[in-house]
């Protein structure tokens, strides 16, 4: 099993959710986060005083999938989240040791 962590622009969230749903990815967790990559922040001006805002609002989307679905999920995700400009975000993939459904103790991919 793999965990997909995608940090994306907040405004592509709906498109990404639709894309994942359409290929049958059911479990998704989303959190609003702040951060920056190489893009760094932007400038804001309040009554003439300039501030550099380094931490930009992003959405972090997490889902755990069967290893066999990796390419398909990544393709759907990147296609939906890509605008082509700086700040589109990143995807991180890691191994998951175990998954357990709390309701009935199902284990492994059956629990996803």
């Amino acid at each position: 099993m793999l965990k997909i962590e995608a940090i994306i622009q907040p405004f592509v969230l709906d498109a990404v959710m639709d894309a994942l749903k359409s290929i049958g990815v059911d479990g998704i967790t989303v959190v609003e986060v702040r951060g920056h990559g190489r893009q760094k922040g932007h400038k804001e001006v309040y009554r003439g005083r300039e501030y550099n805002v380094d931490l930009l609002p992003k959405v972090k989307l997490e889902t755990v999938i069967a290893e066999s679905r990796k390419d398909e999920v990544i393709r759907a995700l990147t296609q939906a989240a890509r605008t082509g400009s700086i700040g589109d975000g990143k995807i991180f993939i890691s191994e998951i040791a175990e998954a357990i459904r709390i309701r009935n103790d199902e284990r492994g991919e059956a629990a996803l």
């Binding site: 001006v45 009554r47 003439g48 005083r49 550099n52 805002v53």
Partner: protein, 460 residues
Amino acid sequence: MFHRTAILLLSLCLSVSAQPASGIEAELAALKSAVRSSQSAGDNAWMLISAALVLMMTGPGLALFYCGLVRKKNVLGTMMQSFAMMAVVTLVWAVCGYSLVFARGNPFLGGFDYLFLHGVGAEPNPVYAPTIPHQTFMVYQMMFAIITPALIAGAFAERIRFGAMLLFSMLWMFLVYFPVAHMVWGEGGFLSAYLGGRFPVFDFAGGTVVHITSGFSALITALYLGKREGYPHEKMVPHSLVLSFIGACLLWVGWFGFNAGSALAASPLATSAFVATHFASAAGAVSWMIADKIRNGKASALGAISGAVAGLATVTQGAGFVQPFSAILIGLIAGAVCFLMVSVVKEKFAYDDSLDVFGVHGVGGLAGCTLTGVFATRAVNSALKLANGQAAPLGWIDGNPMQVVNQLIGAFIGISVAVAGTFLALKLTGLVTPLRIGKREESAGMDLTLHGEEGYNFEA
């Protein structure tokens, strides 16, 4: 025979005409009193609404405007500063404030006739407002006394202790507000235009009494208390311009009570002041947006609302004296001048007038005081009469350039009392209790350390 008949006829006529004559007189008297009471009813309705509108400017208007401009951790503390004035100043006003401003006294401070509101009831006070109950006048003026110290709080935002703020504000009322308000508006006041002042200053709704005093006092408090920890290198951005937006719009609406209500009657003069107020606010917003666009490349939302408030503060003094297009000009000047103050001059001198009370109210008030001397005209306000009964020329455009000098004298006295009184009030407060919150409290925020609460409680 003829002679006797004539006398008889004459006496008959007299007796016949005498009978209805007393009836007509009684009717006339009844009519007069009906007219008086219906005018009083109309005026009183408008003045009570105006009083409520002016209170709405402090809470929630100013409370929202200010609290949106501070950081999250200080949102409640900032709102409390405005709200506390609504409570505390009310009590002081009832006990002695009203008397010290409006009772007959010396040219610099009122007397004690109205102490504990003695004699302030349903009967009108003919000196100030002959058509409304004295109590209406008292409560209307109270709302002005409430907002003035609440305005100052923007200058020492995010760093003053609550108790110290209360004590300072009360002392400030006695040392600055009561004397200046009496001088400008009180019977026999030194600067009174209508009630026997030495230098007649036209201040329709408190450009000098409210905005110059609060603005210049704000500057003194900002200098005296020093900068916030981390200012200016640390990021201190407004935590919610949405709240500030709502606050600014409430201020705009409330200002109709402030300025148009200052006609003290539901009169054509109130309409004129209403229009001038609205026009100046609009022009202030436009001119700040243009200045913003030129200097920063974008017309910001905070800029637009700041410009509207600057226009309102600036037109306050002349609202009941100037024509609509003078008001537009005043608003345009206000937006540009206040923009320069807060975004250029403040940066140069690097004082931390956190929410720009001086830049907007002090400078706007001073500009408005001066411009009233230029644009005041008898075409709008003919209350001031010459010896021959004709309306006196008011401002420069009316052919009375000396009025600009009178206005500047008024501003100078207002500023002097504000600076000296504020300094003294700060010193006295400092003897009783420390003014600033500690460094650790400041970084934790006023909400938690001063009030034991949080404005935004995400666990709830």
